[in-house]
């Protein structure tokens, strides 16, 4: 079977959706040349009216996309760095998200915001290493964090077809993942549906984005001590609680590993949502970035601030010792 990289899967999803639907177009910084390596070739294929290089005017081009969506197009906006979402938070949250409700259902705003390279890219330091997906889960914007090439393809395709704004975080640490993929099976992946990546009996580990791969590795390593089930939510808002409850009600134990800040992060949401519904046999645990994290530059510090395999291993082992 051919190998597909995560990055190429994103390119392929864009290509397929632009081919399928004329109303899809792209805008962003340096996307014609393809500086972030997701859009190369698209200018040639689809022309300058559908691949727009923008000036450094993130607020205006984000709202430009809102307007274009109100007028029936389906813009995909690429952001070079994750913190640009802070800069356009107003335009997304206070406008794109609110238009359908505020107009009493007169319109839809089908925009996709694509961040190829979220989270730490080692050495990019404080202002380029954020992973702000939980913010979007809080404000209630559909938010996906694909872990695999097939999901990168399928979730981006679904995002583009979705009638509300969707933020697609492609973690930097997942961009180089490659999988054997039968291209014929590439298809939209339903939003809001998680998947069990590895079956297990003793504890459910929910892992977000690139951390799915770490969770799988840890599960393998611990295989002779504990049977770990790995659940990949894929979409973090709306969250597939039913899918997770299926798993947790079997295992009775829950650990969440998530690369956003701890306080009010998706890990807290997952744990609370589960405990509102089913009891656990041991206290829940989460492995996250610290509260208020700012990623320091030096690689050793940068790594220390991110959730990793060691902490996850420890959390699983402690959970197995605990009893509620």
């Amino acid at each position: 079977m051919p190998r597909l990289s995560y990055r190429k899967a994103l390119t392929r999803a864009l290509t397929d959706e632009m081919t399928r639907d004329e109303s899809v177009f792209l805008l962003g910084e340096d996307i014609r040349v393809g500086a972030s390596n997701v859009t190369p070739g698209l200018l040639k294929r689809f022309g300058p009216d559908r691949v727009l290089d923008t000036p450094l005017s993130e607020q205006a081009f984000t709202s430009f996309a809102t307007g274009a969506a109100l007028a029936g197009l389906r813009p995909v906006v690429e952001f070079q760095i994750p913190s640009l979402l802070f800069l356009v938070f107003e335009q997304i949250v206070n406008h794109a998200h609110k238009f359908p409700m505020m107009t009493g259902g007169q319109c839809s705003v089908p925009v996709t915001y694509l961040v190829p390279g979220s989270g730490s890219r080692t050495g990019w330091a404080g202002q380029h290493s954020d992973h702000p997906y939980s913010l979007f889960a809080h404000v209630g914007i559909v938010t996906v964090v694909p872990a695999t090439p097939a999901d990168a393809y399928g979730l981006l395709a679904s995002a583009i077809r979705h009638d509300d704004p969707v933020v697609v975080f492609a973690p930097a640490a997942a961009l180089e993942v490659r999988d054997d993929v039968d291209f014929a099976t590439l298809a939209p992946v339903p939003l809001g549906r998680g998947v069990v990546r590895r079956a297990g009996d003793d504890v459910t580990v929910v892992a977000v984005g690139h951390l799915v791969h770490d969770a799988l590795a840890v599960a393998e390593e611990l295989a002779d001590q504990v049977s770990v089930e790995v659940f990949d939510p894929r979409t973090i808002y709306p969250f597939d609680l039913d899918g997770l409850l299926d798993s947790v009600s079997r295992t009775g134990r829950l650990v969440v590993v998530d690369d956003s800040n701890r306080s009010c992060g998706i890990a807290a949401e997952i744990i609370t949502s589960v405990l509102e519904r089913v009891p656990l046999v041991a206290p829940p645990r989460r492995v996250t970035r610290p509260d208020g994290a700012v990623l320091p530059f030096a690689p050793v510090l940068d790594r220390a601030v991110q959730p990793g395999r060691e902490q996850l291993t420890a959390a699983i082992q402690l959970t197995m010792k605990d009893r509620s």
Partner: protein
């Protein structure tokens, strides 16, 4: 295409004036909750600009937005019902004064965030044209908005991509209590010119002058021209917001207000009609607004069970709060 009939233009000005006065009464009587930003004194701008637009053209408004929505042709009855928060309102009671919208006639909405809508309008006009629908747009904003970075970014985008949007700055001298001189370094027209956007000042109290300036700009834009800016000099006759009727804020002298009110767009345009014609229009407007108020007050309040309706256009159902 543009409508130079003085009576029609007068009717729009008068309609907005009397709509606002009735809305203020409904604020006082408690039927409109949260108050409004009255457009009194500025009616000539919305009326003049929209008289020079086609039905398919697009507009965006502001927090002081009733005039823009009405001038583009929204039904005053459904508009008033919206202000009263009724299910029969333009936005099914979900929007209210600051978000009134009627996409079916090209009103992409009043907008409560100062400076936010020109970029939205630019995208919408661009997209319509991509789809083969050669509309133009007009975006209204105040003198306060020209200090918002997002507005200036929109100027740049519109100019770069030659999107035909008319940038209509309603310079009423103040952003809430802040005078223009305290907030705007340089000039308003200079901000447009910096991006290569032609800019002109017009007397915003004269509806016909506004219409003419707009018609000329729209003609250039339909001919392939890019954005233009019109700075309409005007004066806000009443409070920034009706809350100011209760809390006096000292930032304008009574003399200044009296001077400002002396040039009334209703009278300026009204003088272009015979007294009889003017009376006929006035009477028709009262009848229309009587019916609008009656319609508004008769409309049902929304059912609280539908509080989350339309939160997602995709049909996604939000989890409730308890």
């Amino acid at each position: 295409m543009t409508d130079a009939d003085p009576a029609r233009l007068y009717r729009t000005v008068r309609l907005i004036r009397r709509f606002e006065e009735r809305a203020i009464a409904l604020v006082r009587s408690g039927h409109i909750v949260g108050g409004i930003h009255p457009y009194l004194g500025q009616e000539g701008i919305a009326a003049g600009v929209c008289a020079a637009l086609d039905a398919g053209d697009l507009v965006t408004g502001t927090h002081r937005g009733h005039g823009h929505v009405l001038a583009k042709g929204a039904d005053p009855a459904r508009m008033m019902a919206e202000l009263c928060g009724r299910e029969t309102g333009l936005n099914r009671g979900r929007g209210g004064s600051m978000h009134a919208a009627d996409l079916s006639i090209g009103v992409l909405g009043a907008n409560a965030i100062v400076g936010a809508s020109p970029a939205i309008l630019t995208g919408a006009v661009w997209a319509h044209r991509q789809r083969g629908n050669p509309v133009v747009g007009a975006s209204f904003f105040g003198d306060g908005a020209v200090n918002e970075g997002m507005l200036l970014e929109a100027f740049n985008l519109a100019a770069l991509w030659r999107v035909p949007v008319l940038l209509v700055c309603e310079n009423n001298g103040y952003a809430t209590t802040m005078p223009v001189a305290g907030a705007v370094a340089g000039t308003i027209t200079g901000r447009a010119e910096a991006f290569g956007i032609p800019a002109v000042v017009v007397d915003g109290q004269d509806p016909e002058a506004v219409r003419q300036v707009t018609a000329a700009a729209v003609a250039r834009m339909r001919d392939g021209g890019g954005p233009e800016l019109v700075e309409a000099r005007t004066y806000r006759f009443d409070a920034h917001h009706t809350f100011e009727h209760a809390v006096r804020l000292a930032y304008r002298t009574p003399q200044e207000v009296a001077d400002g009110r002396s040039r009334d767009p209703v009278d300026i345009q009204g003088a272009r009609l015979s007294p009889a014609d003017r009376e006929a229009v006035d009477a028709e407007v009262e009848t229309t607004l009587d019916a609008a108020v009656a319609f508004a007050l008769a409309g049902p309040e929304p059912d609280p069970a539908g509080a989350l309706d339309h939160l997602y256009a995709s049909g996604l159902t939000a989890r409730g709060g308890s």
